[in-house]
């Protein structure tokens, strides 16, 4: 069983985000790391391939400046190889273009039995790329999967809903997006980290994939204003002296909610 995992390499979420003054898009020129959300998909893929008793996990990513640091983390966890799409012409790509690029990368790998992505990235969080990829590739999809297994060549997943969850069965090949916490991602071992350094990562451009970058003009939308939201003011801050619960009780009483 072969599985392809889509991963995003993002600016460290612990650092404050910033916009590029010229283009009003997220600044992504610093060091990039593997999006935490994607570690779940990588782990899920490794477990499914293990359970199938054969096959491999490949990683695909789109990032500026030939960045592979985040992909190496996924390779260190146990993925076999990767494709990085890095092309200045793709800068500012919207979710639809990203989906077309990643779908082309899937095809360059010859497809797979299963494609896994996170439900959304932690930096841009448009949250549509997986389902858009499925449509581009003509595949069925199960989004927001929180439990996944392959049983007799059929994918069985529990899909998050507003009221609870649905059990869904899906023919392969298919694409799924997985929620955080679906599995416990492993930490890369020292051996894994060393091995990852020599695993193949092919770097390609949009034209290598036969995708015409839409760029700024093709996005069908442009940012026309960036403004600060009205800030919420801080109120009373008190150090707990053992009796501060009384402050909360009084606050709630004042609001007449107790």
């Amino acid at each position: 069983m072969n599985v392809i995992v889509c991963v995003k390499q993002i600016p460290d979420p612990a650092l404050p985000g910033a916009l590029d003054g010229a283009t009003n898009t997220l600044k992504r020129d610093g060091k990039l790391i593997l999006d935490d959300s994607d570690a779940y998909g990588v782990e899920m893929a490794l477990q499914l391939v293990d359970a199938a008793g054969g096959g491999e996990v490949s990683i695909i990513s789109m990032a500026p400046n030939g960045e592979t640091a985040g992909m190496r983390t996924a390779l260190a966890m146990g993925a076999a190889k990767g494709i990085l799409v890095s092309d200045p012409a793709l800068q500012g790509s919207d979710a639809l273009t990203t989906a077309k690029v990643l779908a082309a990368a899937v095809q360059r790998l010859g497809g797979a039995d299963l494609i896994i992505a996170a439900t959304e990235s932690s930096d841009g969080y448009t949250g549509t790329v997986p389902e858009q990829m499925a449509e581009v590739l003509g595949l069925p999809s199960v989004t927001f999967a929180k439990k996944v297994k392959i049983d007799g060549g059929v994918l069985k997943a529990n899909r998050q809903t507003e009221e609870g969850y649905d059990e869904v069965e899906c023919a392969l090949p298919a694409l799924i997006s997985v929620t955080a916490g679906v599995v416990e991602p492993r930490y890369p071992s020292f051996k894994g980290i060393m091995a990852a350094k020599s695993k193949p990562v092919e770097e390609v451009t949009a034209s290598d994939l036969g995708v015409t970058p839409a760029g700024w003009a093709g996005a069908g939308q442009k940012v026309t204003l960036v403004a600060q939201a009205e800030a919420r003011q801080a109120g009373e801050i008190v150090e707990d002296d053992g009796e501060s619960f009384g402050k909360i009780v009084a606050f709630l009483e004042n609001l007449k909610v107790i």
Binding site: A95, N158, E162, E167, A180, G181, Q228, I237, D240
Partner: protein
């Protein structure tokens, strides 16, 4: 470009249109008198309600027979558009089904999407959507260019649902076309997770716990406090990721958006991911050990202290009332 026709992706639960649907219809009718709801399911029970909130017409697919709405409803929408009824703008709720339908349709129409928005307005020839970023500190206005339909998803509670007293929406059947391989997924069972007390996104009081609780067992304090206040328990992404509570408890950018009268954050530092989901609360109480925690920057009452000491005393005091 002027907006002549607006569609809303409508959802029904327990025989009634969802609050999110009514919010979007209310917004849609402020933009155009020609508002159409598109529903993956049977509309006979909700046509009156959809009309009351502004829809003049509803396209309904009828029972989806286990097909996932993402592929089925987007397929039906594409067929309607190909048939000549083309809207200028389609509004989607930012939720599981809304995102799937939006994403599939964007590929079928080769149109960009805008998600996580909180407002949309027509200004002369420009259609502008507003989207908060960086935890809501910054508002970005995006102007659509070129030909519609423009596709936008909105966070819950972006608009207030208000009935307009319109006549029942006229029901038109919308066929789901042959989905081929993309229709390969089927729902085989539906599970409703019963929760007692009010729903997280509708509760008047929300008590949320975070990493500062230290361990999963301590979440019981959050649940107990929520119950005493007749509120709903919530959680930060950190403890959902850690598996302490289900995803449905998550408040934040990738979880629920809540706007209760009172929000109590216990052991939550206030990552932007979390704040974007709760800063619309009327009153915020925060309890955290770290006085530098960002949550104190937006709290009306901040207690710098250990949740393990403050919460038990608060719970005792409320029990004694």
């Amino acid at each position: 470009m002027a907006i002549n026709s607006v569609w809303v992706f409508a959802q029904v639960t327990n025989g009634a249109a969802t609050t999110g649907t009514l919010e979007l219809l209310t917004k849609a009718r402020s933009l155009s008198s020609n508002v159409t709801a598109v529903l993956g399911g049977d509309a006979s029970g909700v046509a009156a309600q959809l009309g009351e909130f502004g829809a003049t017409k509803v396209y309904a697919t009828g029972d989806l027979a286990g097909k996932l709405p993402g592929v089925a409803v987007s397929g039906a929408m594409k067929a309607i558009i190909d048939g000549g009824d083309k809207p200028d703008l389609i509004l989607f709720p930012q939720n599981y089904e809304g995102r799937d339908v939006l994403a599939r349709l964007s590929v079928k129409l080769n149109k960009s999407v805008l998600t996580n928005s909180i407002d949309v307005a027509v200004d002369g020839d420009a259609v502008n959507a507003t989207t908060p970023i960086f935890g809501g500190n910054t508002l970005v206005t995006t102007t659509f260019t070129g030909e519609g339909p423009y596709l936008v998803a909105f966070r819950p509670k972006s608009f207030t649902a208000e009935a307009s007293g319109g006549a029942p929406a006229a029901i038109t059947a919308a066929a789901v076309p042959d989905l081929g391989a993309t229709g390969g997924a089927k729902v085989t069972a539906v599970h409703v997770e019963e929760s007692t007390g009010p729903k997280l996104d509708e509760a008047n009081i929300v008590v949320s716990g975070g990493r500062g609780l230290g361990e999963a067992d301590k979440y019981a304090m959050v649940e107990e406090l929520a119950k005493l206040l007749k509120g709903a328990p919530g959680a930060s992404r950190a403890i959902v990721d850690a598996g302490w509570v289900p995803y449905s408890y998550q408040v934040g950018q990738t979880g629920k958006v809540v706007k209760p009268s009172v929000y109590i954050a216990a052991g939550i530092s206030g990552a932007t991911q979390h704040m974007v989901g709760m800063k619309g609360a009327k009153n915020i109480i925060a309890i955290n050990k770290d006085k530098e925690a960002p949550i104190f920057g937006i709290a009306d009452l901040g207690i710098v202290g250990d949740v393990h000491k403050v919460l038990p005393k608060l719970i005792e005091a409320l029990k004694g009332r």
